[in-house]
Amino acid sequence: MEHGILSAIVWTPFLGALVLLLMPTRNENVLRWSAFVLSLVPLLLSLRMLQLFDPAVGSLQLSENAAWMPSLGVNYALGVDGFSLWLILVTTLLLPIILVSGWHDIDKRLKEFLFFMLLLEWGMLGALCATDLFLFFTFWELMLFPMAFVIGVWGGPRRRYAAIKFVLYTMAGSALMMVAMVYVVLRQAAATGKLSFDIVSLYGTPLTYAEQLACFAAFAIAFMIKVPMVPLHTWLPDAHTEAPTGGSVDLAGVLLKMGAYGFLRFALPMFPAAAQDAFPWIMLLAVVGILYGAMVAFPQPDMKRLVAYSSVSHMGFVMLGLYAFNTIGITGSVLQMVNHGLSTGALFILVGYVYHRRHTRQISEYGGLWGIVPVFSALLLVVTFSSVSLPGTNGFVGEFLILLGAFRAHPWAGSIATIGVVLGAGYMLTMFQRVIFGPVTNEENRALHDLNAREVWALVPIIALIFWIGLYPNPFLRRIEPTTRVLLERLRAAGATRHLADEDRRVSPTAAAAALGASPAHAAEPAHPAEPAHAAGGAHP
């Protein structure tokens, strides 16, 4: 245990949850303030982790390793790399924001709610930091319970249905994953004579192609449910719609990312050949998800359902970039996970604000809010355009990289996915317009009061990040890219290069600079004295 920083990040929410539970008070303000302060601890610790993180290293770092169940080869092993770094930060950032934005949202069993939210954070952080497959699986299951309770207890009218659906879907995937996990570990033990759940050593498990295919399928289905990819997505609209705001934010911000993260951490490097051969299928499902999610979002009458389906579409982009199998696509995809967490999280918070005031999420109940709640409207405007990937906001950088990468991997998939850019504008602007513009059709809305300082400040960090990532994404990209390279090297080394784009080999940055003759600082002239336009001359005889 050289560092211990990751342990600190993972376990402080758990300790916080216990502290909260043991606090001998039901004074709501004391509880809220305590939870808020407790949620700041992992945030500060994860910022410290960011400081310790070496951007040049692509493999796992800040690692910790201790024996847990030595007889089974199970270790308590943590580590972080470019794939998990920003997701950990999003996780720790979102909880304080959730607590501040929803200060008065919870009107029953507040203590238990705060307890479960901290517990959920613990599970999510554990799953993101774990580098032992067994430990990962433990945390993967651990996050399920608090989420299910948050939906099932504090949710909307159909909360029970939504919670059960969520649990069943996830469990079905988990069960598949567990069987495959055990199988892989046993095969590895057979080959090496030693039981081990260490992820990196499992990457090299000697599996026949058929075994790879079966195990990949099991892992992939578990992760595809989480992403979610069409047609395994129908738990999401219900879970999102019924969950309280805080639950929706965590769901969109982190839980969905676990699926894509699982592909990067487990499914791709453990089963490289099978993962490569799934290329056409995953590409197809990703593109279908982008278009289908956008289309189903379009006529939704319920704001939260609309945002939920938009998540299906956005996560389709994430999977598309991931399966582009090139540095640009995967790096963009990891960035887009962060972006989606921020933008969609902010959307749910904003929907929560009006829901808290009017107790309805029906789009048709609103209209003409611009004149009544201008601050709310302006914030919704920013977040809406971040969600439709306007250049200058975070969404654009991610989507641009994903589509650029996808174009290299599969021009047709890239082209068709680009249509999603249009459809995204279609449903988001339609919702924005129906809620914000037009005449005030419902007299009740005239009494709405605009956001107060607390509600605005809760969103300020997200808005700042939306523009930061949009205008200066390099600090983020720089820390993701080395890990992307490590993954691609691993896939290449495994001999599974059928779909690997060769952009990195063909054009290394140095070679590119050489080819361009000059650095962009003093870029060459466009108007080199009239190129003899022989090619064009023919057009104008």
Partner: protein, 648 residues
Amino acid sequence: MTDQPTTLLRLIPLLPLAGAAICTFAATRNLRSVAKIVGPGSVLAAFLVVLAAVARFWQLPVGSALIDRVWNWIDVSALQVDLAFRLDALTSVMLLVITGVGFLIHLYSLGYMHDDPDLPRFFAYLNLFTASMLVLVLAASLPVLFIGWEGVGLCSYLLIGFWWAETANADAGRKAFVANRVGDAAFLAGMFMLFWGMAAAGAPSLAFADVNRMAPQLAARSPWLVTGACLLLLTGATGKSAQIPLYVWLPDAMAGPTPVSALIHAATMVTAGVYMIARLSHLFVQSPGAMEVVATIGAVTAFFAATIALVQRDLKKILAYSTISQIGYMILGVGVGAFSAGVFHLMTHAFFKALLFLAAGSVMHALHGELDVFKMGGLGKHLPITSKTFLVGTLAIAGVPPLAAFFSKDMVLEAAFMHGHPVLWFLGLAAAGLTAFYMFRAYFLAFAGESRMDPHVEAHVHESPSNMTIPLVVLAVLSIVGGWVGLPHGFLWGDRFGEYLAPVFAHVGGHGGEHAEAGGATPLLLMLLTVSVAAGAIFAAWKMYGAPSTLPDEMEARFPKAFALLRGKYWVDEIYDALVLRPYAATSRFFWKVVDSAVIDGVVNGVGTVLSGAGESGRRLQTGNVQHYAFAMLLGAVLTAGAWWLWR
């Protein structure tokens, strides 16, 4: 010829951006006077910086440029995009037009929006638009251009729906944004194609300088790639520049305040497509096929939109279709390789079309929003400045010598003819006649003859205040003299404008020197022909609308179908609605109600019912959700084991 580094250029978009931020703040505190100073002031400041920058640029050797690298924007693997601005001859023209005309329009807005309670918000949007447009023309690479490209789209969306309480305005704004997005998606795809093409050629870059330099090699490696990328970029241009097939948003965009129509939907934003093609001239000339498509779209749009403008009653709609038509000329110009002619028309159009829109706004101001030219008449005596400046704009757009569009339009048409596009030239010529006709029709109906106004309205008609009329006069002067920088070759000082821009553009089939070669009588004959067509059209307009006449009614009685077709705008909106929008909405509903809710969820709930039935029996042993958990886990394991066993 190296580019000269500077940090001056970033100030140009930054000033109006800061203005937008201050005006936004002013909007929240309702500080109208702050917005009134900062709104136009920030654009004036940007104009002064532009002057300083252009002065510095003029000191550089010919062919050099100023470059301002702000920071490295995106850097992943082979993709390196700098947030960099670059000022060359083409950019200098655009900058002067945007900040110069832009400032006049800001000034005019002070008067026009005087009574609007949301004036600070208006200036915030207008400043943000100016900043985006400046980014667009200063960008040194395609992705940075795209920031401005979509930024102006956002501002256009916000300004069309500025009076948001009207659903129709909000609809128009959304229509504009989504139609533009269709183009933008194609634009993105074009960028992607270009990037991978450049990467394959060993130069992964989207900087204009690199793309233009590598264009011949790209075309040599893969002609279809260049053609494909150009056509996709062109599709982007048809969105932003309101050309067939994506022009449908522009007429609706007139829902915005009139200064917006002048600034965004006439003088600047809609010319972005023309600018982009001119900017990538070296790439486009490598694909004769793509150029052919560009020129054809331009010429057909010029003619098509002009026919619709013939029968419109709404003054702003007439001007909107006229804008579509005039941009068609610019696209035609760049499409036949006469890049400087296209940009020349872009500049003169910015003068006279901004003038026409602002004059129309002045009429609206006087008539309390009335826009139907058939409910005007005789306005000349009430609105002396407005009517005279409108007449100048009308003469200019009609191509009457020696006003601005006479030179620029003629240059485009001449290039079309001389570069071997007689059909496109003829379409352009016909459109020129139509233009002169519909503009004078509008002028005669609104300003000449007897009043057809509502007496109530007529009683209150008044000339606009000086902060509105001064911009009109300045623009009128520019509409007269603005074309004199580009005289026909050999006439007085000749085509100074074209010579100034020449180092930037690719040269097609000897264009640039072609005036000299062609020499002879052909250009003169073409010019005479164009002028006589315009003169004939003006005479016809006077016959039909300038003097009391039954001719229009007789015409309509004789050709009812043609009139209905034009009044219905060829029913393109209705066709798009039936072919695209309604099927899309229906499919969406089908996916939602049937595929998602009935089929997929049906299966899921079916499984769920079975499970919870089993769970109920399990409840005797355990309580809570745990049994579902355990059961699902078991089921998953059984299914996997079964699958495994079957597979073996």
